[in-house]
């Protein structure tokens, strides 16, 4: 009993530490990648090549005043950032970092991941609704429409993968790929998953919920201080988590040339994160109607077709 309690405590502290440090690293990486793509230098002043810049930003955000607008719905306004951050920590529970490094290897791991990931949209809508601000509400409405739509092709793509593997357990999903990675069996599903992941995390080119040029900051326009930092933290952790899930489902998790282990998982995850940043600083933002057309007219039919073909091929093989 004591053993289990200590284990849970260590995992909880470890997960929170990973989430925070990782978000700081990703913000720094994002700023550097964007700077070098635009032929700039990026942060250079705080620490060696600006390495401590995000730490300084975090200190600034923590020490700032937390403003609650006069006509805001206070309970929802305070709860929204907490609810946005909650799924991030919960999702780390089933991430298969290495053969012996899974907090809880649930039988329904994949289902668990996507059910908690869809909680994010409720937090975003709470934030947008409670702020009592037209920009927040518009951003939140767009976000709900976008995330709910893009979950359809995303889950259909994951369904094809689960169909091939025949298990929802994260460790079995990874172990299935020790010979051949799932990306070579299901390339279309991987592409659909990454596009859906970009849309689910509200990142460019699907970042209309926070489109800076028209909505200021979208759903978190009214937030300041630590509450804003929580939204920021959950946004970057979501990027990390989508890359983690893609690595586990498609890129063979901890398997790689030479020695298998957590280092291959981390390398693959950061490569995917870099690709997501690279896409962000290359492509312009889509219009809302283009976004919906792209989801319902292109991605969903392809995902259904992919699922159909997978099913037929599996039936023929067995």
């Amino acid at each position: 009993m004591i053993n289990i309690a200590i284990q849970i405590l260590i995992w909880a502290v470890g997960i929170i530490a990973v989430v925070t440090v990782n978000a700081l690293a990703l913000v720094y990486l994002e700023r550097k990648v964007s700077a070098h793509i635009q032929c700039r230098l990026g942060p250079m002043q705080v620490g060696f090549h600006g390495l401590l810049q995000t730490v300084a930003d975090a200190v600034k955000l923590v020490s700032k005043e937390q403003i609650i607008p006069k006509n805001a719905d206070k309970v929802l306004f305070i709860l929204a950032p907490i609810l946005a951050f909650f799924p991030v920590i919960v999702l780390f529970v089933v991430m298969p970092f290495a053969p012996n490094l899974i907090c809880r290897d649930l039988n329904i791991g994949v289902l668990y991941v996507f059910s908690f990931a869809s909680l994010e949209v409720i937090a975003i809508f709470m934030a947008g609704w409670s702020s009592n601000n037209k920009y927040s509400l518009l951003g939140a409405m767009r976000s709900v429409a976008q995330v709910v739509s893009y979950e359809v092709p995303l889950l259909l793509a994951v369904l094809a993968v689960v169909l091939v593997i025949g298990s929802l357990k994260m460790s079995e999903v990874v172990q299935y790929q020790h010979k051949i990675w799932m990306i070579f069996l299901q390339p279309a599903a991987f592409l659909i998953f990454m596009m859906g992941g970009l849309a689910d995390t509200n990142r460019s080119p699907f970042d209309i919920p926070e489109a800076e040029s028209e909505l200021i900051a979208g759903f978190h326009t009214e937030y300041s201080g630590m509450r804003f930092a929580l939204f920021f933290l959950s946004e970057y952790s979501n990027v990390f988590l989508v890359s983690c899930i893609a690595t586990a489902l498609f890129l063979g998790g901890w398997y790689g040339p030479f020695v298998n282990g957590i280092h291959w998982f981390v390398i693959k995850v950061y490569a995917l994160v870099f690709v997501m940043m690279w896409v962000r600083w290359t492509l312009p933002r889509l219009r809302p109607d283009q976004l919906m057309n792209f989801c319902w007219k292109i991605l969903t039919p392809i995902a259904i077709l992919n699922l159909l073909v997978t099913g037929v091929v599996l039936k023929l093989v067995h």
């Binding site: 070098h36 700039r40 230098l41 250079m44 690279w278 290359t282 492509l283």
Partner: protein, 155 residues
Amino acid sequence: MFKNIKEIFTGAWSILVGMFITFKWMLKRPVTIQYPKQPTRPSPVHKGRIRFVIFPATGTHDCIACLKCQNICPSDCFEIKGDKPAEGGKKRPNFFTYNFSNCSLCSLCIEACPTKTLEHSPEFNLASENKDDYFYNFLNDVEERKKKVDATVNR
């Protein structure tokens, strides 16, 4: 149907081309510099404040205190007094101030100067908290610059 599928593929190809271009630019040297730490040079056509030309032949300016610059200046920047030297020869200025805070850098004085002894300086970081810093005494200024030139030559 066929047209739509073709459109999807051309669109995907254009995305790949765009990604390749941004990756290529990411590997290039940044064009920006860390300005106050790293020194920089202004453009060769930069128009800074007005100053005297130091002619290499004579080692000094060639102002004859004709007051043409003072007369043509639309903002009344110059205050010049000059006399003929006792030993004879050209008239020379003995008082020459220039007010940079009024100057609109229109270059009319440079065009009007008969001896071509006025020019724009390449200096660019001239900001100051003190209004008096913008009154330049050209005769002192020329002496200081001559010293600097001597120092670099002798070194």
